[in-house]
Symmetry: C2
C-alpha cells in the first residue's frame, strides 16, 4: 500500500522499517480535497491523518470567530490529542490546500503505539514540533503586526504546498489571522512592494522567500 520509496510524510518516512511495517497494513490512502474536515472540535476523534501533500489548518473558535492556531503539512500528523490520551478534539482541522494522505483509525493507532515504544516516540515528537509552532504563534499574535504575521503565514504555507502559487483569498487569510479583510489587502500590497510576493486574483505567488523572511521580522522559524 504505502511504498516506502514514495512516502513524503516526514513522520512515516523516518520510522524504522519495523515500525512502518506495523502501521502499513492499516494506512488507508485518502484524497484530501479543499475544505475536507479532518477533525471537529468537541467530537470524538476516530482517526488520524498523515499528509503526503497539501496543508491543513488547525482552527479554534470555528463556530463563532474562527482563528487559526497552527498548520499541519507533511511534516506532521493530525489527531495529536489521541496520542495524549484525549478522545475528543479541541479544534477544527480542515484542508487549506488540497492534497493526499494516509488515514489511520484510532484503534489501530492505539494498538500499534502500545506495541512499539519507538513508534510512540516518533509520534510524540510531532506533538513537540506542533507545540513549538503554537508557541511561536502565541508570540506572533501577541506582538507582531498584520504584515509580519502574514509574511510568517505565507512562509509556512510555502513550506508545505508544492509550487510557489498559494491559492488563497484575502477573505480567507483574514480569517486565519483573525483580522479584518481590508487589513490583509493592505498587508499584501506592502509585501508586494517589498518584492517578496506577487498578487493574483485568488492566489499569491511567493517570488522571494528571503525577502519574505525579512518582512516577517523574526516571527518565522523553518520546519525542524
Amino acid at each position: 500500500m504505502a511504498e516506502t520509496a514514495s512516502l513524503r510524510n516526514h513522520v512515516l518516512k523516518n520510522l524504522t522499517t519495523a515500525d512502518l511495517r506495523l502501521l502499513e497494513p492499516h494506512l488507508e490512502p485518502v484524497k484530501l480535497p479543499l475544505r475536507k474536515v479532518l477533525e471537529r472540535a468537541g467530537k470524538l476523534n476516530k482517526a488520524v491523518y498523515f499528509l503526503e501533500d497539501g496543508m491543513a489548518s488547525v482552527v479554534a473558535d470555528a463556530a463563532t470567530r474562527p482563528i487559526e492556531v497552527g498548520v499541519i503539512g507533511r511534516e506532521g500528523m493530525t489527531g495529536l490529542p489521541l496520542l495524549l490520551g484525549a478522545a475528543r478534539s479541541d479544534s477544527d482541522i480542515y484542508m487549506q490546500a488540497p492534497g493526499h494522505g494516509h488515514c489511520l483509525r484510532e484503534a489501530q493507532l492505539r494498538l500499534a503505539v502500545s506495541q512499539s515504544d519507538t513508534l510512540r516516540a516518533s509520534l510524540l515528537c510531532c506533538v513537540h514540533v506542533f507545540l513549538q509552532q503554537t508557541t511561536r504563534t502565541v508570540v506572533a499574535n501577541g506582538r507582531s503586526k498584520i504584515e509580519e504575521r502574514l509574511a510568517r503565514w505565507l512562509l509556512m504555507a510555502d513550506d508545505r504546498i508544492d509550487g510557489d502559487e498559494l491559492p488563497l483569498t484575502h477573505e480567507f487569510l483574514a480569517m486565519m489571522l483573525g483580522v479584518r479583510r481590508p487589513g490583509v489587502t493592505e498587508a499584501i500590497q506592502t509585501l508586494e512592494r517589498g518584492g517578496a510576493i506577487v498578487r493574483k486574483r485568488g492566489s499569491i505567488i511567493v517570488v522571494d522567500r528571503n525577502r519574505l523572511k525579512k518582512l516577517s521580522n523574526g516571527t518565522y522559524f523553518p520546519i525542524n
Copy 2:
C-alpha cells in the same frame, strides 16, 4: 517523603498508588522562591518539577522581548518536552509566585515512564492540558484587548495562587502580556471600576471572580 495525604499537585494526586510508589523515592521536595528558574530555553533539561503551590510562567523570547506563553501551577508539571522526546527546553520557565514542589531528575523520569504505561499516560495528559491552554492564549493574543487578556491572566493566576492577593507589579504584568506598562495600568483601572479587583501597590486583589470572568469576555476557561 511525599506523603499521599499531603499531596496537592493534581498529577501526583491522581496517580495510581503503584505509579506513585514508582516515583516517590525520587521526588525531592524543593522550595521554589520567586524568580527561581526551572527551565531555560535552549539548555538541556535535567529535571522536571511538580508544583504543590505557587505558579510558574512559561516565557518565550526571554532574551529579547519576553512574552508569556502559559502558566503552570499545581495542575501540571514543567519539563513537558522531556516527555515528548526533546532534551532541550523551548522556553524559559520561572516562578511567578513562590511556592514548593517536587523535583524529579530526568533519568528517573525516563526510567519510571518506561516501567509504567499508566504513569506515562498520566503525564502525557499534562501535555494535552497545556496545549489546550496555549491554544486559548493564541486566540486571546490574536483577538482580545489588553483589558480582557489581563482579566484572563488574573483568573488563571487566582486559580493557582492561594489567597486572593496576587503580588504583581504592572511592569511585570506588561511583560507577561507583551504590552506597554501604562496599558496595564489603565486596564487595571477598568477592571477595578468594574468591581472585579482592587488595586494595591505591588499587588492586585481579586474580589469578584464572576465579574472578572465577564470582563474576560470569553477568553477564560477554568482548569479542567
